[in-house]
Every structure is written in structure tokens, then in C-alpha cells.
């Protein structure tokens, strides 16, 4: 892996979104990943619809939570994702109104990634932003800087929030992951969370995955 990488500087990441009062982080994590994959494979950055997943992914539970692995399958079965503009976010479940004719992107497959953070960094730099899930300990009060909670307080076994790795690097010799969150740009560092890299902090390496666009 290169010593640092940031997909935001390369135009692969859309603006920070806000899931509102709804546990739909899984949908934002997956659309963020697909946005990056589409950009890297097709050259166009499109903001994609989380509401489509809330309404039409019947395996997951909309605002009550979901799993990225199910969401990839749903996108494949539905026939793609509409854009944010065409199927805008409401923050609560509605009847599915997806139209295959309106789909602007598709995915062909999805893969699980290594739990080795060095390999994750290498994958990210070469292939694009990664969907991950973490233990959200402390994030309710996070303002800025690199979070590195004690492991017993931020157990990898208590994963409860899905987010998107968009880059990594070092600040004052502290290695970090740059993480796009979905709580709006008025949270954290303009919507981003910085978490210690290399120690499996908060289980960041335990549920890494990506869509595949051919």
C-alpha cells in the first residue's frame, strides 16, 4: 500500500449525507461503495439512492438496520440503483418505487475483503472506497482527531454501525483511516471520522466488503 491515500481528492466520493433519525447506515455504506466502484470503472461519480434500498431490499429492515451483504444482493436482483435525485432519501420506509428503466448503475458481484489492515489499505488504494462496519463507541460525542478507544470499550464483537473507508494516512505519526459517516457534515470533521489504523480499532477490519462492477 502507498503510505497514504485519499479518494476524496480523486473525485471518487460524493458529499457527506445524513441518514436522519433512521438506522440506515448500512444503505449509506453500500451506496458509498458502489458510487466509488462506478466512478473507478465507468468514470462518472453519481450520488446513488439509499431510499431504494430502504424500500426495496426486503431482506434488510430499513431504519431498523441491515447488512451490506444483503444490500449487494438486493441491488443485483433489483437490477441496479437509481440516483439520489431520482429516488430521493426520506428517512423512513415507503412502498418500493424502483424502476429498472431509471437505474443508472449496476453491480455484478460483491466480495468480502481481508481482515488484515495492511491488505485493506492496499485494496483501497487500488480498488476504491470500502464498506466497513465498526463499533460506534464514543462516536456520539466525537468532534475531531484520531479516535483510538481502549479495546475493551470498543470491542470488535459489538459492531453496530456501517460506514465507508475513503482513505488512510498518518497524522503526527499516528496512522488513521479516513471514514465517511452518514450523520451529516455538521458532525465530526465535516462529516468524517478518523480512527486509528493498524490495531483493529473498534472492529474496523472485521466486516470489510465491496461491490464488483465489471
Amino acid at each position: 500500500a502507498p503510505p497514504e491515500w485519499d479518494w476524496r481528492k480523486k473525485g471518487a466520493v460524493t458529499e457527506v449525507k445524513d441518514q436522519g433519525m433512521c438506522g440506515s447506515c448500512w444503505a449509506f455504506s453500500v451506496t458509498g461503495n458502489v458510487e466509488g466502484q462506478w466512478f473507478l470503472n465507468r468514470g462518472t461519480l453519481l450520488s446513488l439512492s439509499e431510499q431504494e434500498l430502504l424500500d426495496c431490499d426486503k431482506v434488510d429492515k430499513a431504519c431498523l438496520g441491515g447488512l451490506p451483504s444483503n444490500a449487494y444482493t438486493a441491488i443485483e436482483k433489483l437490477g441496479g440503483l437509481e440516483t439520489e435525485d431520482d429516488y430521493s432519501y426520506q428517512g423512513h420506509v415507503q412502498a418500493c418505487s424502483f424502476s429498472a428503466q431509471m437505474a443508472k448503475v449496476y453491480i455484478n458481484d460483491s466480495v468480502e475483503l481481508s481482515q488484515n489492515e495492511q491488505k485493506l489499505a492496499a485494496w483501497l488504494a487500488q480498488k476504491g472506497p470500502i464498506s466497513v462496519a465498526i463499533n460506534a463507541f464514543g462516536m456520539q460525542f466525537y468532534r475531531h482527531g484520531i479516535a483510538h478507544p481502549l479495546r475493551p470499550l470498543c470491542s470488535p464483537w459489538l459492531i453496530d454501525h456501517a460506514v465507508l473507508l475513503v482513505g488512510y494516512g498518518n497524522r503526527s505519526n499516528i496512522p488513521f483511516w479516513a471514514i465517511k459517516n452518514s450523520w451529516g457534515s455538521d458532525w465530526g470533521e465535516e462529516g468524517y471520522y478518523y480512527l486509528h489504523r493498524g490495531s483493529g480499532a473498534c472492529g474496523v477490519n472485521t466486516m470489510a466488503s465491496s461491490a464488483v462492477v465489471n
Binding site: G23, C25, W26, G65, S110, F141, H148, I159, R171, S209
Partner: protein
């Protein structure tokens, strides 16, 4: 990691209240505890109790002491005078020919966990609010910070009662944020965010995703290893 403090087995004899004989080994233990710390960041001795055993080598002191850590000085995260951290320590000190030797030290923070309770107000949360000038100062500060929070994030509450309840949640959350801050090993700063008026349970229920830990993930194909370009 902070663990609930459990004193080691004290044998058949109960701990004795503080006596003049315990003060010298207690001061020695405190000096050892503060070794390497700059003036102003040293802990001070609180209560001391213990017992002494006479042995062939000298006197063996088993002490249980509370040590008060100095209050936090970062104005962004240390709004609270209650932030003063108390450590509960046990020490075993041998006095041999007038010289103290520290044999064992075991310290942990005193559990000051604040429980969520809808009936609590700021004044019940800080019971000495009306009598202690420091607490009055805290009350004014936290109310002022809460007003800024309400303005910044456009919060509206249905009633005065609801606003008071949210103020008490906010105050408790500032204590929680400060504890998280104290235990973080990185450079992160914790404090007021747009979620500061939510209880932990509300935050988890509304914003987080319990399915990630409750439901087994569908097995996905493993990505191929990257090859050297």
C-alpha cells in the same frame, strides 16, 4: 482499562482506620505514585486506612488509600468540577531499617458511573448544587453551554419539563464525553455534538444498527489477493 476495584484479601483482620503510624508509608506510596509527574499534575492523598504486620525483616504495611487526581484543565472538554478523578489504591510497603520499599501497587478508578434516570434533574444529579460555589458555577456553565447547543442545532422541546430533562441528559453526557476523552489513546476530542441531548439508549435505538451484531452475515466470496502491478 478501568476495572471495578476490588481490594485484595485483607486476611482475618479488618482494615484499621487511619492512624499516625500509617501516614509515613502512605506518603511514601503517594510519592511513588507521583514519580515523574510535574508539579500541578500530581495526585493528592485522600483517605487512608490499613494495617501493619511486624515481621523479621521489619514492618509490612498494607494500605488502602484514595488518591485524588488533579482536575482536567482543557476548557473544551473539562466543564465539570465533578471531573476530578479519584483512584482507589492498595499498597504493600515494607519498612526495613527505617527505609520504605514498595512491594505492590494496585490502583483503579473509583466507579462513578452515572445512571440514566428520567426523574433526575441537574440538581439531583449534583446534589450539592445549591451549597457548593463550584457546583453553582458548573450549573451556570452547563446551562450556558446547553443554550448554545439548543441554538446551534435548532432544538425545540415540547415543554419546560422536557427541556429540563434534556438539560439533565446533556449534563450527564458531558460527564460521559469526558470519561471517553480520558480513556482515548489517540488525538480525538470528544464533547458537544448534535447528539448531546440524547441518552445512550436513544442514540443506539435511533442511529445505530443492531442487526450488524445480531444477524449472521451472508457468506460472501473472498476477494482475490492483489497482485503486484
Amino acid at each position: 482499562a478501568p476495572v471495578p476495584f476490588k481490594p485484595r484479601a485483607a486476611g482475618a483482620r479488618a482494615w484499621e482506620p487511619s492512624s499516625p503510624e500509617l501516614l509515613a508509608p502512605a506518603r511514601f506510596a503517594l510519592d511513588e505514585y507521583n514519580r515523574g509527574r510535574a508539579a500541578g499534575s500530581r495526585a493528592v492523598l485522600g483517605t487512608v486506612r490499613g494495617r501493619v504486620r511486624r515481621t523479621a525483616q521489619g514492618s509490612l504495611y498494607s494500605l488502602e488509600a484514595t488518591l485524588e487526581e488533579p482536575p482536567c484543565k482543557d476548557p473544551l472538554v473539562c466543564l465539570l468540577p465533578v471531573s476530578k478523578k479519584t483512584m482507589l489504591c492498595t499498597f504493600e510497603i515494607l519498612n526495613e531499617l527505617g527505609k520504605h520499599i514498595l512491594l505492590r501497587r494496585d490502583c483503579g478508578p473509583v466507579d462513578t458511573k452515572v445512571t440514566d434516570n428520567r426523574n433526575e434533574s441537574v440538581s439531583s444529579f449534583l446534589p450539592q448544587l445549591n451549597s457548593d460555589p463550584l457546583q453553582q458555577d458548573f450549573s451556570m456553565k452547563i446551562t450556558s453551554v446547553f443554550k448554545d447547543f439548543v441554538a446551534t442545532y435548532n432544538r425545540t422541546y415540547e415543554s419546560e419539563e422536557e427541556a429540563q430533562w434534556r438539560l439533565s441528559v446533556f449534563a450527564r453526557n458531558m460527564v460521559r464525553a469526558q470519561k471517553i476523552q480520558a480513556l482515548d489513546r489517540g488525538t480525538a476530542q470528544y464533547g458537544v455534538t448534535k447528539f448531546s441531548d440524547l441518552t445512550e439508549e436513544e442514540f443506539h435505538t435511533i442511529y445505530l444498527n443492531p442487526l450488524l451484531r445480531e444477524e449472521p452475515s451472508k457468506k460472501m466470496r473472498l476477494a482475490k489477493s492483489l497482485t503486484d502491478p
